[in-house]
């Protein structure tokens, strides 16, 4: 008789000791991030360290649970003003990164790309880096070496990146990955208001009568903000969502405008046209507080709903509905995110939203105004203090002589030593291809996944003679470098971040870094010392840098001088500008109707719609658009290693409308002018028939960014991720997701990779797919 495969030995399977791990726990694909003794930790001796989530621009408050041994082992929700206990799945799982076995714990190095990376001493890695910087700069000039920062860094470190590049490396080429995030919104806000931040706090959403979300997938990218959206809806606010996909929030909207990607400015110009036609403008507000209105008004006349409806692929009546709902509301707010910003006319798209808010007088009041949703944790703070190619601390312009003089005084250098403005992140990659930039230090960014047109990016990086990367996991970009510096994770250092409201919050240190790991601050200061600028970088840690940053920002619009670590801990966050230590901060802008322009007015700008950079033709008749999924963060370097998040969303997909004849999970080849890749089809009516959506968190050969175009907005230099021409075809097999790279000697966690070959889970993601009815 054959043994029964289901036979159970109850003596071993029924644990009589309730303290033993219960059965079934092994079913979860733990990537190793959860401490082995997670559920046996001495929780009576635990400490709760108040801090914030490391991920998106909401910056939810959370406690990290620290055991008696000083190790982070869990998370506990925190009743902070921003999130009031709420966390999204990324926030719940974030702590698992801290002691993850994939953490880099020793510098890695190789002298040429033909060799394998090997562990070396800090001295060897630092000396090699410094000698390469010197070699390249002596042969090709200072600007042949570049520095690329990141918007997940604390603001102190972002400040230091700008200073390090300009004072220690003495190059003009410094930029950061926030360039891929919300520089379009920043550009538009600067043009219209001369201040680069959201106008209203999140809490104002609760007070509005009409909430317009343009290209903002709040449900997946900023899930915790949904509570504010639902709060507004509870008290009857009209919800308008402008998005080519039916997102979770669009599902419940009063008006969902499913326009064709890349047509936003035509839509908003047309909404303004209706507002004007129906006499719904706030003429008193315009006369007192705006310039450029006559020109904007004349331009809007060219966008009657009939024309815009044709451009946008939507019913003309929707334009009228939106105009009436927004303009007639006693208080209305507009929030936008990457959906309208990732375009070759990203700045212009944002300007059309500002024009609408201004024309209807919805500015500077509780429940009326505008907000920009930053994708990265410190997308806001990361650009405020000089990490951006053209900016100095405090948002000063590097082209302005007075601003340069002020900063040189603080930095203790001659003005002639301060380099000129640099170029943007994508332009630096093109310069790397042309060998104008021959060496690069990347700090906590992963352009191999996050920049568009992967083949160009790979070629650019491969063309460099030397490339060093800072990170705490071996990202796809770091795996290609000559030197990798293992740096601290957010829970191992203190520092501030500014969230999407421009609220500065303090992150606290929860545990000591592992042996062999240094803070980014230490590495930059040590490199500076070895480059001969040690006296300018005598910082003991974040606190020292913050004190200099406060001084460097004093008197500017982005004034941090009244913010101290102590005040941040007392208040839970202060919104800049905060010019003195008794100033409460500025949660809402323009309350007295004046902007930060010298004339105090909103400078309205004329916007003419133009088509996206990648033209449609018979070969490429459809639109490819990209975006995020709730379980993963940006390039996925952090979240593709956490079991729960991998299990939730193991791989990318191509979201297509049922009219194309695909069945759920069938291989669909997406072809653009840059290349083609095969994804499982996710068939749903929640997307426009002429549009395909792919989430972008994975590397090649399943990278959406191998297909996207590296066309840039001429002003903000943001790439046009949200629209390119494509076609879809049936294919034989699905491209497999590669495992995240790990350092030599480290074990790859097969648990997180099991799902690489899984078919698309039928219920993932968010019920978009079906195998029966499509």
């Amino acid at each position: 008789m054959t043994a029964d495969p289901h036979a159970v030995d109850r003596r071993t399977l029924l644990p009589l000791d309730p303290s033993l791990t219960p059965p079934g726990t092994g079913g979860f694909r733990d990537a190793g991030g959860i401490p082995a003794d997670r559920w046996h930790a001495d929780q009576h001796g635990e400490t709760l360290v108040p801090t914030h989530c490391c991920f998106c621009g909401v910056q939810c408050g959370m406690y990290l649970r620290v055991d008696r041994g000083g190790k982070v082992f869990g998370v506990e929700p925190r009743n902070h003003d921003i999130n009031r206990m709420r966390l999204c799945p990324k926030g719940v799982n974030a702590y698992q990164q801290v002691n993850h076995p994939d953490r880099l714990t020793a510098p890695l190095m190789r002298r040429s790309r033909d060799e394998e990376l090997r562990e070396v001493s800090w001295d060897e890695a630092l000396d090699f880096t410094v000698s390469e910087i010197r070699r390249i700069q002596e042969a090709h000039g200072n600007d042949a070496f570049g520095v690329l920062g990141g918007a997940s860094l604390f603001t102190e470190k972002s400040y230091l990146v700008g200073k390090f590049a300009r004072v220690a490396v003495r190059t003009r080429h410094v930029d950061y990955n926030g360039r891929l995030c919300m520089v379009s919104a920043a550009g538009a806000n600067k043009l219209a208001f001369n201040i680069d931040r959201a106008g209203n706090p999140f809490a104002d959403i609760l007070l509005t009568d009409c909430l317009l979300l343009a290209g903002a997938n709040v449900g997946e990218c900023f899930p915790v903000l949904t509570q504010y959206v639902w709060g507004a809806r509870d008290r009857g606010a009209t919800l308008i969502v402008v998005d080519p996909r039916e997102t979770a929030v669009a599902r419940t909207a009063d008006i969902h405008v499913a326009l064709k990607s890349g047509t936003d400015s035509a839509f908003f110009n047309s909404v303004l046209n209706v507002v004007i036609e129906e006499g719904l403008t706030d003429e008193d507000f315009l006369a007192a507080h705006a310039t450029g209105w006559e020109e904007v008004k004349a331009n809007a006349a060219h966008y009657p709903p009939s024309r815009a409806a044709e451009i946008c692929g939507i019913p003309a009546e929707q334009i009228v509905q939106v105009a009436r709902a927004f303009a007639r509301a006693p208080k209305a707010m507009a929030f936008h995110a990457r959906g309208i910003e990732h375009h070759t006319q990203g700045v212009e798209n944002c300007l059309t939203v500002i024009n609408l808010c201004t024309a209807t007088g919805h500015l500077g009041k509780p429940g009326a105004g505008y907000g920009t949703l930053t994708g990265q944790g410190n997308g806001q703070g990361g650009r405020e203090h000089g990490q951006k190619a053209d900016l100095l601390p405090g948002g000063r312009s590097i082209l302005n002589e007075e601003h340069r003089r002020q900063i040189c005084e603080i930095w203790g250098i001659e003005e002639s030593e301060l380099p000129a403005a640099g170029t943007s992140m994508m332009e630096m990659v093109w310069q790397m291809q042309r060998r104008e930039i021959r060496g690069l230090i990347g700090i906590c960014n992963n352009p191999f996944v996050s920049l568009p047109n992967y083949s160009v990016v790979k070629d650019g990086y491969d063309s460099t003679e030397f490339h060093a990367q800072f990170d705490f996991f071996l990202s796809e970009t770091a795996a290609n470098a000559h030197v990798v510096f293992p740096v601290t994770i957010w829970a191992e250092d203190e520092g501030v971040m500014a969230n999407a409201e421009a609220r500065v919050v303090k992150h606290n240190k929860a545990q000591e870094p592992p042996a062999g790991v240094r803070t980014d601050t230490w590495v930059m200061c040590e490199l500076a010392r070895r480059l001969g600028a040690g006296d300018k970088f005598a910082f003991g840690g974040s606190r020292d840098v913050f004190e200099e940053l406060r001084r460097a920002s004093a008197g500017t619009i982005i004034d941090y001088s009244g913010i101290t670590y102590e005040r941040l801990e007392e208040t839970g966050g202060i919104v800049w500008p905060c010019p003195s230590t008794d100033h409460p901060g500025t949660p809402r802008l323009f309350e007295d109707g004046t902007t930060y322009h010298t004339d105090g007015k909103v400078h309205m700008q004329v916007v003419e719609w133009h088509p996206p950079a990648d033209p449609y033709d018979e070969e490429h008749p459809m639109t490819l658009t990209t975006g995020r999924t709730v379980a993963h963060f940006l390039s996925g370097n952090q979240t593709r290693r956490l079991g729960a998040l991998v299990e939730q969303t193991p791989r990318p997909w191509a979201e297509v409308h049922p009219s194309h004849g695909f069945r759920n999970g069938e291989p669909v080849r997406v072809v653009t002018r840059r290349g083609s890749e095969v994804f499982p089809a996710l068939v749903t009516e929640a997307i426009r028939p002429d549009t395909v959506f792919i989430p972008y968190h994975w590397p090649v050969p399943t990278a959406a960014n191998a297909l996207t175009i590296d066309a840039l907005d001429p002003r903000s230099k943001i790439p046009e991720y949200k629209v390119c021409a494509c076609r879809i075809e049936h294919a034989e097999s699905i491209d497999e997701v590669p495992a995240p790279p790990v350092a030599p000697g480290h074990v790859a966690y097969p648990e997180t990779q099991v799902s690489r070959t899984d078919p698309l889970p039928p219920t993932a993601p968010q019920g978009r797919g079906t195998s029966e009815r499509s």
Binding site: L13, G24, G27, G74, L206, P223, A248, Q766, T770
Partner: protein, 200 residues
Amino acid sequence: MMGRTMFIDPGRCIGCQACVSACRECDSHRGKSMIHLDYPDEGHSVASLPTVCMHCEDPVAPCAEVCPADAILVTADGVVQEADTTRCIGCANCVNACPFGVPKIDLQAKLQLKCNLCYDRTAYGLAPMCATVCPTGALYYGTVEELQAERPGVQVADTFVFGESEVRTGVAMVVPAERVRWPVPGGLPVVEINGKDVRR
């Protein structure tokens, strides 16, 4: 009226699965999530709703009633506990009896697993992990009065009809309502920003 309990509001669910991750973090089940998401109109809409144990009150927990091993206990405060691992025989009677499709059997261990309302937390006055973190408030823990103070006019249902049988539950569902306008405060308690009252 019901005391502190869980309220499920499908109209607020965004399908993010924070509840699923949070449930896994709770010390009750140690790494195993007891929540799953349902997608009622899959392929047509992104609608979703979390499914947790409804903690049936009348008849008292059909799962417990049919358990031949007396493994499912109901506490005095109405929480239907998961099967006692020292008594459960993995027979799946509870799975068949539950009208909401909640208990699951770990086939390998032949043991039942289900939500016990985070008894390790609720017994100490804390909300269950899922309802604590739920970013949208689709899962809410508190009294019906607290819920209605936050969401004026909200109606809930704790009685469900299955054919000729009626089941009253300890966990309630929010009933879709007509859209009406409510004065401030609506939704969430209005908060202060940097000590400044934003209602002015």
